[in-house]
Structures are given as structure tokens and as C-alpha cells.
Amino acid sequence: MEIEEHFFRHEFGRIVATLTRLFGVSNFALAEDVTQDAFCRAMETWKLRGLPKNPSAWLMTTAKNRALDILRRERTARVSAPELARLLESEWTLVPTVEEAFSTYAVNDSQLRVMFSCCHPRLSEEAQIALILHILCGFSLKEIAQAFVSSHAAIEKRIIRAKKILAGSTKLFDLADADFPSRLSSVLQALYLLFNEGYHGSSPEAAVRMELCQEAMRLMNLLIEQPALVTSQSYALAALMYLNAARLPTRLDGSGNLVSFFEQDRSLWDHTLIAEGEALLNLSASGTELTKYHIEAAIASMHTSATITEETDWKQIVSLYDMLMAIHPSPVIALNRAIAIAQLDGPERGLQEIRVIHDLHRLSSYPFYPAALGELELRRGNYPVAKAHFSTALSLARNPMERHFLQRCIDTCR
């Protein structure tokens, strides 16, 4: 029997969250140790004897028994969450309380509470994402450093500080708290950035990191599966992820090279994900709020609903970009808007729009800015100018896939 992909990672997040709920957030290090210990036992046993019938239950039971040992031995509030301390001190209530914490509902609830706790207002967005990856997705410091093109030392410092802030909280974030709406925005933003990092990766090794997208979607699903917590913006972000994920398989070709959006084989888009994304987009329309997630999901939906590029409703896409610029202006969005305008009204109009982008200098290290200029000049037949832009883009490329892609663009300028 094979182990399901990323099984250890996902179980790690479930168990560490459950133990943090029992031991209290101030004893987070203990929760981590007990989880690590359960995994070492699993590895030592399974590697010789093979997988048990239910690996997930095996790990949960190992962690649960270890938690009971510790709680019985200590019999003090020192190792229990303050709100559970009384229940965990008496043998009458100890076992049922621990059993309850390991029930499916409670495990999911604990993961959400940890996720909301990780998005502490005193932490930067980068630190929040790193903490979520570390705790809920079981990424090691090395794996996070690779994911964010950062040095091991920098990530270590960031995580140590973030853990201190987390452990300094009196208890895990309460999902019934009055601060829920504002904390939810931070959580959604963190998951949005995590997904985007996977989708438009700036990593030196890979242009697309599917696993970051998958982790963001897994955590997003936890959030929308809880009816009491779902908001229209959560549905909108989930829709955006599903619709973009549907196009992931075609962003790279068979040799792992980036494929231009216009050249992607649309028959390979994942139609199950598209259907789910559309259903989520409908659900997101229930409220009165209109967030950037709603608009970005609507744009993604315009793309996935066109069977060929020529059928794309560029007029509608341009007006969606106008709305997006109104509520959430950024140079990258302005650039994408200009590209959509070029599709609608021709390359000259696109170039004009690029020239008037506010804060254009913020795109100076973004390879797809000169690449867009190159593409539009190419369409006008200005080969030498196009080539110069693509060469600039090439010098800014962040990974071999981008370099290879831009080199091919240069080659077409002859």
C-alpha cells in the first residue's frame, strides 16, 4: 500500500492543532514535541512492518495516548489549556475531554483556531504565512526557506519570533470572538498570498509550485466547510483558487517550461475544478460585499468559460479590471488591465495604458512588465524594440523556466 501524497504533512497539522487545543497555546512547544514523537514512532514502525489499515487513526491514537500520559503525570494546570484545565485535572472528565478533542469536528475546529491564531495582528503577512506553513502544513524551516526564496537563517528568526508571539497569547483565537471579521480578512489574505506564491512563483527553482497552491486550497476548504463561519468573500476566494487551479496543469509544458496564456491547451484545463469554481462563485454572490476576490474570481471565470482565446469577452474583462483598480489599485493589476485592453483595442492602446501606469517604477524588477512591452511591440511588428524589451525581461528572470520562456520570445523576434 502506498502512502497518500503529503499524508504526513497534513496529519502533522491536524495533530499539532489538536494537541495545542489540549495543552494550551502557551505550551505549543510541547504539542510540537509530542507530535514529532508520534511521527518518529510511525516511521520506525511502518518502514519495517508496512502501513497499518488506517494510518491516520494510528497516528491520532499514538498522539492521544501520549497526551493522556502527560496530562495524567502532570495533573496540574501547567500543561493544559486554561479553559480546559478543570476538565483535564479530574480522571472522570480527562478521558472524555481528550477523546472529544480528537473527534473529526474538533480536529477541524482546532486547525481553524490555530490558523486564525497564526494571523496575529502583531505579525507581518510574511510571518503569518510562514507560521501557517510550519504549523498547519508541517513544512520544515528549510522547506519554507525554499518556498519563499529566503535564507534559512532569516526564516528561522521569523518563525522563532512568530512562535513567541503565538505562545504569548492566553488562548487560541476564539472563532466566536467579536474580532472574527477583521481576523478573517487577514486569514484570507494569507491564504491568497500562499496560493499566488505557488501560482506565480518567484522561486529560483520552479515557476509553479503546485504544493503551495494545494495547501492553500486545503486550508481554504476547512474554512468553507464550517457553515457558521462562511462569508461571501471566503466563497469568492475559494472560487478564485479553484478556477486558477483548473489552469495549473497547462501553465507548464511537458518539459516543465512556462507556456504563454494564449498558447495554453484549453482542452487540458480541469473541468471538475472549473465546475466547482463556478458553483463557489455563485455562492459568493449572495452577500452585498464586493471584494478583490470576487472580481478576480469573475475574471478567472471569464477565461475558463471561453473555449478558445478568440471567444474571450475582453470587454467584460477590461471593465472588471476597472472595478478592481477602483477598489484595490496596484501596478501589477494595472499592467494586466493594459494587456486586456490590448486584446480588445489593439497593441497601441495597450502600450498607451502601460505608459500611464501610476507607480510604474514598482514594476522595475518584475520580468513580466518588459515582457508585456515586448509582446505588444512584437504584435506591432517592431521586432528590434520587442527584442530589446524581451532581453531586459530575460535579465530579470527568476528561474530557469522564466529564462527559457523569455529566450523563446527573443527567438521569435527575428
Binding site: F8, C40, E44, K47, L48, G50, F139, E143
Partner: protein
């Protein structure tokens, strides 16, 4: 054919869940391959890295498996091979070497001596 014990020495370094999964899968693949070829008599048992050593005429009880971490026996398997040379050859695919561990290959002494076949 002779039976051999593989004694696995050396405990793994702490690893991330993803690395643990890869290691576990490598071990499972290696043993399954040997097993499919009919060379595994028993997959054996893993041992926990704790215990006591009882020693000497005074039956002194000492904590721990009484060895350096890299020498602690983490488990064993029973392998069937033509001879020691082949048993050693089968051990070469063991993932333990990637982590600086070792496999001790020991023929099991027979109780009855065979007729040479």
C-alpha cells in the same frame, strides 16, 4: 539457502513530515522488492529507542540501550540468501545508509547441520 539477520543500527535524525514520508516510502519499497523476490523470511520488528541494560554478576541495571545513538539497534529483519556475499549485496539498497546508519549482516547459526545441500 541460509537465513541472515539484518540488524539496523543508528536512529534517524529529526526530519520534516515530508522527509519522514519519503524515508518511510523508501524503506517500504526496498523491503517489498526483496520480499517479492522471496528473500524475506520475516520483516522483523522495530525497536523503540529506550530500554535498560542489565549487566554483570551484580545484575546492575543501567538506563538506555547502552550505546551511542548511531550504534543503537533500531530493528531487525530476517533475510534468506545463498550466502553471506549475496546477503550483503541485498543490503546495499537499504535507505539507512543515507542517514549514516549501518546494517549488520549476520548468518543465523543452524541447530542441525545439513548434508551439504
Amino acid at each position: 539457502m541460509t537465513e541472515f539477520v539484518y540488524l539496523y543500527r543508528g536512529y534517524e535524525q529529526p526530519a520534516s513530515p515530508e522527509e519522514m514520508q519519503k524515508k518511510t516510502a523508501k524503506w517500504m519499497t526496498w523491503l517489498k522488492d526483496l520480499s517479492d523476490k522471496g528473500h524475506v523470511k520475516s520483516l522483523g520488528e522495530p525497536l523503540q529507542p529506550v530500554g535498560k541494560v542489565v549487566k554483570g554478576k551484580k545484575k546492575q541495571v543501567i538506563d538506555g540501550p547502552y550505546a551511542e545513538a548511531k550504534d543503537v539497534i533500531g530493528g531487525y529483519s530476517i533475510i534468506v540468501a545463498r550466502d553471506l556475499e549475496q546477503a550483503v549485496e541485498f543490503s546495499l539498497g537499504c535507505p539507512i545508509f543515507e542517514d549514516g546508519g549501518s546494517v549488520e549482516v549476520r548468518p543465523i547459526a543452524p541447530l542441525e547441520l545439513g548434508d551439504g545441500n
